[in-house]
């Protein structure tokens, strides 16, 4: 088999491999937990290698969609003819998708390792986890609207069971937030958001009237078929529909509850990768298929993104549960992504995609560390946890790394991304941009407040006697967290390789969007 044929099936195998992993696990007897762990780690490793291969092999000098391959799937006859190519499994990645694929590979691998401690029917856990990831990869690598939606829904479907079965309820002084409640809320809200996406997809298909769900084919006729009114009507549907998953205010309320209730690896994937699907959807469908609508609505998105940044940070300050702090900080950080998209500027959009990657690894690290602490102390209450650094040195350092990334310390990935976003905002919105941008900078300051407060109290304070007996992380945990730290440092210190790949996707997209307007 030549390298060309290999390249043409890589993307397909990226979707199929997690599914194959799930199938293999089904055949392994559930009692053999060791074998289940090793088999899932094997599949996760292969997927990680594959995603790194894709990222490195991506030719940024060419740009555009690479590794393309199309499989015929279903015909839809109509006035447009027999529509034999209406729905095709059209695969291909541009620079943005390649970055996201790499992120998903990393988070999947570390999530699989972190979940070794799942004891209650770990086989079922891994099966659902892999189905979820198959959906995630599917969204990133397809440019057919039907399959985009197919995989989008597929990645939401296993969440209910994953959270409901393996999650944990949060007990507060005066009320309890049960895991079943959070799981149901998350599923219903996310699927509710996809109502708008579904309608928008059907509307785009019908308005294009070429009998195809292929985004590239539709993109070619946007100018002649999509009137500005149509685009202005469709874009907010996509923006809100995907915004729900991206944690956009005021549709974010599922997210802290869901992330807190979910088991560690699922929080990692959900906050790390799944929320990015929302932002990715706005870029892929919104910017590409209704560019004029995007331009009209961008100021709104900018404002919503800014609200996200500040609102999320303020909420995070008020939390006493470690996971809720991280959950709200995710909302705050997704705000930068939305702001970056809203700039429609080379710097801003690059920053947004980079922030998607950076926040993905950072928040995965956060949730991994909180999971380690919870497993040892059985509490996440910041009023009770104190002086963890004395007995859990490594864990505390890991938390510090994630925390400093999150407040944008230079040298770590968050700084580069947020800087780019701010520059984009200033450049494309002028005076208004300076106003909005300064508000968002206040958000960064707020982040510093809650992160540093946590670090000083929970980790680096005096240790009370009840936590004297704790143990530090083991090798498996160190290794998986180390992978994430490596990614953070790499982007923080030497962002060029990633940015150039992202840029090869962003530049043509932007010149197209601006050109249409």
């Amino acid at each position: 088999m030549g390298i060309d044929t290999l390249d043409s099936i890589t993307l397909f195998s990226l979707i199929v491999l997690p599914l194959a992993g799930a199938l293999t696990l089904m055949l392994i007897p559930g009692k053999n937990e060791r074998l289940v762990r090793w088999a899932s780690t094997f599949f996760a490793t292969v997927v990680l290698i594959l995603s790194i291969y894709l990222f490195i092999g991506f030719d940024q000098s060419v740009g555009g969609f690479q590794y393309q391959n199309t499989y015929k799937w279903l015909a839809i006859p109509g006035p447009w003819g027999n529509g034999s190519l209406a729905i095709t499994l059209a695969l291909g990645i541009d620079g943005i998708a390649a970055t996201m694929v790499l992120l998903s590979g990393i988070v999947m691998f570390t999530g699989t390792l972190i979940s070794w401690n799942v004891e209650d029917s770990n086989k079922d856990f891994y099966i659902l986890f892999f189905v979820l990831l198959s959906g995630v990869f599917g969204v990133f690598v397809t440019f057919d609207m039907f399959f985009f939606f197919f995989f989008y829904e597929l990645s939401v479907l296993p969440m209910y069971l994953l959270i409901g079965k393996w999650g944990s309820s949060s007990v507060f002084s005066n009320f309890t937030r049960s895991k079943e409640y959070s799981a149901m809320k998350l599923t219903i809200v996310l699927v509710g958001g996809s109502i708008l996406i579904w309608l928008a997809i059907i509307a785009i298909f019908l308005q294009a009237d070429i009998g195809s769900f292929n985004m590239l084919e539709i993109k070619a006729i946007v100018d002649e078929k999509f009137s500005p009114e149509f685009q202005n009507f469709i874009f907010p549907m996509l923006m809100i529909g995907f915004g729900v998953l991206a944690g956009m205010w005021p549709f974010h309320t599922w997210s802290p509850d869901g992330h807190v209730a979910a088991p560690t690896a699922v929080s990692m994937v959900h906050a790390g990768v799944l929320m990015k699907l929302g932002a990715f959807g706005i870029i892929r469908l919104g910017l590409m298929l209704v560019p004029e609508g995007a331009q009209t609505w961008m100021p709104v998105l900018l404002c919503l993104g800014t609200v996200n940044v500040i609102y999320g940070a303020l909420c995070a300050m008020g939390q006493t549960d470690l996971k809720y702090v991280i959950g709200y900080s995710s909302i705050s950080h997704m705000g930068y992504v939305l702001m970056g998209i809203a700039t429609l500027h080379l710097l801003g959009l690059n920053g947004a995609v980079l922030q998607m990657f950076s926040h993905g690894v950072m928040t995965a690290l956060f949730f991994a560390v909180v999971g380690m602490i919870y497993e040892r102390t059985h509490t996440r209450d910041t009023l009770v946890l104190e002086g963890m650094a004395k007995r859990m040195g490594t864990i505390s350092v890991l938390f510090a790394v994630a925390g400093l990334t999150s407040l944008g310390l230079p040298g770590l990935s968050g700084f580069v991304a947020e800087l780019l976003v701010f520059m984009g905002v200033f450049k494309s919105y002028g005076v208004w941009g300076i106003g909005v941008g300064s508000l968002a900078v206040i958000g960064v300051a707020l982040t510093a407040v809650y992160i540093l407060r946590l670090l000083s109290k929970v980790f680096f304070g005096p240790i009370p006697p009840r936590w004297e007996e704790q143990t530090d992380s083991n090798l498996r945990e160190k290794f998986s967290a180390g992978v994430l730290v490596l990614a953070i440092l790499l982007i923080g210190l030497w962002p060029f390789p990633v940015i150039s790949v992202v840029d090869s996707g962003v530049t043509p997209l932007l010149s197209y969007v601006i050109g249409v307007g």
Partner: protein, 495 residues
């Protein structure tokens, strides 16, 4: 010249029913467990004969039409009938008396369903519908010492008889004003009438209402939950799949081949019915505690989606004339969704019969922790529920997407929006069942053995559900040939 070999599958099935009745006479009670095997072997043979030998043609001057549409539905009814017979075997043995009659009547209703799919004339259709209903009245009441079975069956018979009267009265109106009961002739008259006379409108409304009863469409759905709850479990499955699909087969042909020219008169009636059906069905399902009632309301909800497709079979052009450009697309979607709904519902009921064998309860909470005690059954059950909810990778997602897209193409995007919201509502109660299966702890600790044959059956329906979702194009080709027949049958002639 009538070529009676066209009716071969129906003749053979009727013969099979009598053979079952006859064999039953000579079997001692203990040996009656062979009856389902006799019936299922017979059905499999007839299925093969139908697939290989059945030809296309017409009988009685076109009152019965045998085309690819008939053929697809024949195969569908035989396969689903076969699965119902197989899932009945334990249930009937333990819970019911008079097994011979049970299987014979079941086979009779398959004949009736097949005839419904081929009738192209109102009286023939009416008689087939009655044959189907009479069989079902008996089957629903089969558990005769169970008060619920009696209650459900009484409601079913009374309302069923009432709806038959409505249909008959409607037919008489249509016959009086068009001079024919044949679909093609009705269509011809309608296409030459500019203003529909009031009497004809009354007839149409009555027939639609009567068929609405049979389909359990809101506001004519009241009998469904009680009949579903009271009937023996396999009969509920047959009510939900066989009887419903048979009525849909008739409705689709009737609307496409007879009523299409006056679509501007009835489209809004059907849309209103469809919207009500989706919303009321799915909202009522939210509060159900009994799994059979839950599935009853969920199937009411699915009838809503189907009716939406019926309403979209044609569209009204700017000048008020009917447009049929997209009829193919919509009818493809309709049949796809009927098949998807049928397979999925059968799978769900198959799982329920297996569970029922062990705990004899029908509460949703009795399914708690099933994933621990019967992993395979609960996997198939949860897959079928997710498929009904319209989630990928299952067939329900693909068929819903196809149908909704087709209806949207017909210019009814606002109805599609309501349908998508309704299907979001449905997700809630399906997830509540999934919660019992996977999240709650089991009440009975011991795992229960499932026979190898049942396992094979479960795995094969699961494969059908998944393959239909990820690789639908072979199924779609078959459906395409069927809709070619039913749409081009009379439409294009007069369009």
């Amino acid at each position: 010249m009538n070529d009676f070999s066209l009716l071969l599958p129906e003749f053979l099935l009727t013969g099979l029913a009598f053979i079952v009745l006859g064999v039953d006479l000579f079997l001692v009670e203990r040996d009656k467990r062979y009856l389902p095997w006799v019936s299922s072997t017979g059905i499999v043979t007839i299925l093969l004969i139908t697939m290989v030998l059945a030809e296309n043609g017409q009988l009685y001057d076109g009152t019965l039409i045998f085309d690819d549409y008939t053929k697809v539905f024949r195969v569908f009814f035989l396969v689903s009938g076969l699965i119902v017979v197989l899932m009945s075997r334990d249930y009937v043995k333990t819970h019911l008396k008079y097994q011979g009659e049970y299987y014979a009547i079941l086979v009779f209703t398959i004949v009736a369903a097949m005839l419904l799919a081929s009738s192209a004339e109102l009286l023939t259709a009416y008689i087939s519908l009655e044959l189907l209903s009479f069989g079902l009245y008996v089957l629903v009441a089969y558990d005769r010492y169970n008060p619920k079975s009696n209650e459900g069956s009484l409601k079913y018979i009374l309302l069923g008889a009432f709806s038959s009267a409505l249909i008959l009265f409607g037919i008489s109106q249509i016959y009086g004003l068009t001079g024919s009961t044949r679909f093609d002739e009705i269509s011809y008259v309608l296409s030459n009438t500019l203003e529909l006379p009031a009497g004809l409108m009354v007839g149409l409304v009555l027939v639609i209402a009567g068929l609405g009863f049979k389909l359990a469409a809101v506001p004519f759905h009241m009998w469904a939950p009680d009949a579903y709850e009271g009937a023996p479990l396999p009969v509920t499955a047959w009510l939900a799949v066989g009887s419903k699909a048979a009525s849909i087969a008739l409705v689709m042909r009737f609307f496409a081949q007879a009523l299409m020219p006056s679509i501007s008169e009835w489209q809004y009636i059907v849309i209103v019915m469809s919207v009500l059906t989706m919303l009321v069905g799915n909202l009522s399902a939210l509060v159900q505690k009994n799994i059979k009632r839950l599935l009853a309301y969920s199937s009411v909800g699915h009838v809503g989606y189907i009716l939406m497709g019926i309403a979209a079979l044609g569209s009204i052009g700017d000048d008020g004339s009917m447009q049929t450009v997209l009829s193919h697309l919509v009818s493809n979607g309709l049949m796809f969704h009927v098949v998807a709904y049928g397979i999925t519902t059968l799978a769900a009921f198959l799982c329920l019969t297996v569970v029922h064998k062990h705990n004899c309860e029908e509460d949703i909470s009795s399914l708690a922790g099933l994933s621990k005690t019967q992993p395979l059954v609960s996997l198939v059950l949860v897959s079928s529920l997710f498929s009904l909810a319209g989630l990928p990778v299952f067939i329900g997602f693909t068929s819903k997407f196809y149908l909704f897209n087709a209806v949207g193409a017909q210019g009814l995007l606002w109805v599609v929006a309501i349908a998508i919201i309704a299907s979001l509502i449905s997700l809630y109660y399906y997830l509540m069942v999934a919660r019992q299966l996977y999240i709650e702890e089991p009440k009975l600790g011991a795992s229960v053995p499932v026979s190898l044959f049942t396992k094979v059956l479960l795995v094969s329906v699961l494969i059908l559900i998944v393959v239909g979702g990820v690789y639908p194009s072979p199924l779609m080709e078959v459906i395409q040939s069927a809709t070619d027949a039913v749409i081009s049958g009379s439409l294009v002639k007069f369009a």
